[in-house]
């Protein structure tokens, strides 16, 4: 009886599940989390905005503004793939806890300042 023997064996073992918010999972390399923008290298070529499948990225060339709607983003990483700069100015980070109470907070806006920060 396969199930019985395994059930008895598991009683004193450490469970396979984890208490998530207390115990964070291990994030592998190459995980596709929240999109991050590096103002240092960005040339405002609009490629990421045009190629975004859900139109989550919007760019204002004059104001040198780059904004993303996390609510629309599907974390596909296409903006990273098409980015022509080196090093890439748009990339996936490892951030994955993105829940917010208000929709407004999903609309992230970044601006390239004169000092480049």
């Amino acid at each position: 009886m396969g199930i019985l023997s395994e059930a008895i064996k598991r009683i004193l073992e450490r469970p396979a599940t984890r208490k998530y918010p207390k115990e964070k999972p291990k994030i592998p390399e190459g995980f596709r989390g929240r999109i991050e923008w590096n103002p240092e290298t960005c040339i405002f070529c609009m490629l990421c905005a045009i190629n975004c499948p859900t139109n989550a990225i919007t760019i204002n060339k004059e104001k040198k503004e780059w904004s993303i709607d996390i609510g629309k983003c599907i974390f596909c990483g296409r903006c990273h793939d098409v980015c022509p700069t080196k090093p890439k100015s748009v990339s996936n980070s490892k951030k994955y806890e993105l829940a917010e109470y208000e929709k407004e907070k999903f609309r992230l806006k970044f601006r390239k300042s004169e000092r480049g920060g």
Partner: protein
Amino acid sequence: MIDFVVYTLIFPGFASAFFAGFIYYGILRKVTAHMQHRIGPPVWQPFLDFVKLLAKENITPDDSTGFVMTLCPIVSFASLMTVLVFIPFNGYALVSFSGSILIVIYLLVMASAFIAIAGFATGNPFGKIGSVRELTQLIAYEFPFIVSLLTIGFLTNFKVSPFVALQFPFAFVAFVAGMQGKFSLPPFHIPEAEQEIVAGPFTEYSGPRLAMFELAKAASFWVLISLGSVMFMGASNIFAFFINSFVLLFAVMVMRAVFARLRIQQAFRLYWFVIAPLAIIDFVRVLTGLYW
């Protein structure tokens, strides 16, 4: 008098049934969770559920009879509580007379039958199917269950009193199977099969009424396991009583973990053609004196 009050309200009466019943249920859930290789709820989770349900609203659907819906869990709980009067804990029962086993059997049937009535009272089709299944299952497990109790009864003058049923393993098996049926736990969780009929009789139940049913369920854990540990495993003092109780509880857990749900016909056949003959073997042995 003080004796009576302590017995009915504290141990083994209401307070014990409340706490121990819920703790038993909590342990059952926790250990089963570990058997399933997951963490599971904390042991006091049934308490939290109970308190939460008390704070919720009672919903009475249009088709249902609100009065009966309220009455059923109370009667079910009350009849289980009454059984406690006859069980000797620490070698002493409040009411003890020859023939008390028959009353115990009757009260235990009451507890299950009122669950079935509750299902009919809700007017929900799932509730009705659940109630039919509950009654069918009652007919199935009640016979071997009664035979197993009477087997012991013949030797204890039909009184609920400590008895070591080592010579009657089949009667014990029939008792445990009947107990599992009364708890509606696998493989006999047919009346409450959530994949088939949502929650069976409890489908329309909510709020304090459901809390009362939870309480009745917890009480049934306390009562039936106590009954088993006294009548079949001979617990004459508190220490032995709890050891026996946990052994029984563990048996319930293992069955819960490893069995798939039977179909109602299969359960019926299992009770009548496998477990009942086993129980009858021991019954006949008692009648003919063929035991040592």
